[in-house]
Symmetry: C2
Subunit: 407 residues, 2 copies
Amino acid sequence: MKQDLDRLMEERGLDAAVISGNTYGNPSLIYMLNGANVSNGDVIKKRGEEPYFVHSPIERDEAVATGLQLINRSTYNLAAIMKEKGDFLAAHVEFYRRLFDDLGVEGRVGFYGMDDAGAAYVFLKALGDALPHVEVCGELTQSLIEVARGTKDAAEVAMIRESGRLTCEVVRETIAFLRRHRVEDETLVTEDGSPLTIGRVKQHINHLMAERRLEDPEGLIFAIGRDAGVPHNAGNPDDPIRLGQSIVYDIYPRRVGGYFFDCTRTFCLGYAPPEVEKVYWEVKACVDAVIAATEVGKLTRDLQQLTCDFFKERGHPTIDVDEKTDEGYVHSVGHGLGLAIHEEPFFSGLSNNQRTVQPGHVFTVEPGLYYPSRGFGVRIEDVVWVDENGAVHNLTDLPYELVVEME
Amino acid sequence: MKQDLDRLMEERGLDAAVISGNTYGNPSLIYMLNGANVSNGDVIKKRGEEPYFVHSPIERDEAVATGLQLINRSTYNLAAIMKEKGDFLAAHVEFYRRLFDDLGVEGRVGFYGMDDAGAAYVFLKALGDALPHVEVCGELTQSLIEVARGTKDAAEVAMIRESGRLTCEVVRETIAFLRRHRVEDETLVTEDGSPLTIGRVKQHINHLMAERRLEDPEGLIFAIGRDAGVPHNAGNPDDPIRLGQSIVYDIYPRRVGGYFFDCTRTFCLGYAPPEVEKVYWEVKACVDAVIAATEVGKLTRDLQQLTCDFFKERGHPTIDVDEKTDEGYVHSVGHGLGLAIHEEPFFSGLSNNQRTVQPGHVFTVEPGLYYPSRGFGVRIEDVVWVDENGAVHNLTDLPYELVVEME
């Protein structure tokens, strides 16, 4: 949470943090801007002090909505600095030198926010070389801002709940839409007699999302049969929807510009083959086992290991034994979500993963079993929230139904 | 264009380029992936050779759609590397060491694609230190990939044209929607008798975009009166739509996951005050003057200077004289657009801007005059394409009409 920033900076030995860039695709910057609709800038926070926002002059109205202390970038007369320095890199460094001087930024300074990798390297190296009182710091994983974002405050949980409510509505409406179709030769057909395809279903889902002001910047998975057996296969638009095939429907939209939700249901229309049914209820039992084992202080890799062990005991190949397996359990059991679809906490099974479950964490629980060679896959995904008292709440209001009967 | 990459690498003395990250919000990586729907990976291109794509094992199906030479990341057994190295940074470096060894990547290597700034700095510094045969390179502006992206091939122009066709439809439909409303006391009213607000208009615009599978990840400006006088003011949702006020309508959507368009029209409903009318036709004449002056080889800053001079001659304050001005002409005259809404070429007026107009460039021409203190602003924005023969095509199929009569 934002209120943890000073403590997290202290733990990291940071005197200041600079979060920069364009806001688009930059959740750490968006996070610091409290929902204001600006396109770029720098948030500068010294430990123990309120942050500043250095904004573009043409966004001075929108910058007010950040609630931060404002600095209009035009006060630094970049044109004059550029003329003086001649070179873009030197001018860029000089601008930050003056800004840091004015704000008293020195010591260990962490840099955050999305930038082109090579550009960030060149700039931060030059900045560190030019500013003797500044030590440039960065964090490859579990960075200051990522960790703060990983635990949600009440307002953020409310926004995720609302995204969840709308997303679950879309899932229910999608299933109702499928059930309304006629069936010919085990295939769903539209009013004009042509087979209902995945492309048509996705069109309908897009419409359901648009009505609710949900957007899916990262796509949508609606995959059937063999494709359902490959976790990130988004589904072939031309495939017809047939009875008795496993359908993996994974939807991860956000409210426009806001917080994501993420849920997956697997189902078969009409009937389910016995081997799919067996695997389905194993995956469902695994969801329950993981949620039951979730508690504050638990290592997230222990939840990944629990999942691997759960499936191993039932005879499935798992990724902890064979990293290259394409069959069985092949991914990690969850991920945090918020302003990004994948964020802290992560559930890597690697031994160096020391992350623990914390109050305020919101994450997916999404075990799955994949058998592309046998033409099916099953994944079930709920979102849980660990509240301030450590109680675990499932935010996904959807039933677990393998077989969806046609009307 | 992609076909220029080898030449651009040669100019920069680069032996290889690595374009990495998550695809979301990462147009340089998306560009290299030829439209494939994958979520992350590394594209590695040695000069004079076809690129490789190092992909996630669970995205092996989608990776095929890149058409690139594929390397499944799981062949490097990251879990074993992590166990061996113990530390995430060291393991990350070791993975790239092995990968570069296998592909023969050495010499001057440029790194591109969006990453957390501090993380990129820490990683690339460690990589450079660990790999004696690799010199880590980066470019703060006009990077290899940005410059390649800046000139569009025929397929890209076709996609921008299609985004433009749909965007112009939305603008026309929005104006038709406004014209259908009743007017009471100079204010547009809805069927239930309440004032039509900017929020309601934006809802309708969102609906028009959703119908066309356009998305606006960066928002939408529909600002009236004084707010129209501040370039990036997105408009106050509660403001009623009134006659005789300047409305700046700036819309910059993309087709889902694809290419952006960007256009602005300013209009007044019913009638226009004389001072708005005067300024409107000055801005319109400036659009024409900039397009007429556009030719291959022209410095983009000369087009910015032309715009400043054009408005200065007509008595307006301009940003080249006073960087801090909030009134008159206060921004740059255009920007390239493509997979990002703002990309090469840029039109900075600074003396170090040596960019020239090139065949394949697609960019906005968007002079504007802003007088928030007098309660209005005017901007007109078209998109032009410079074809392979240097001919300039206006891709914006919309009239210039200041006064929109109510029905």
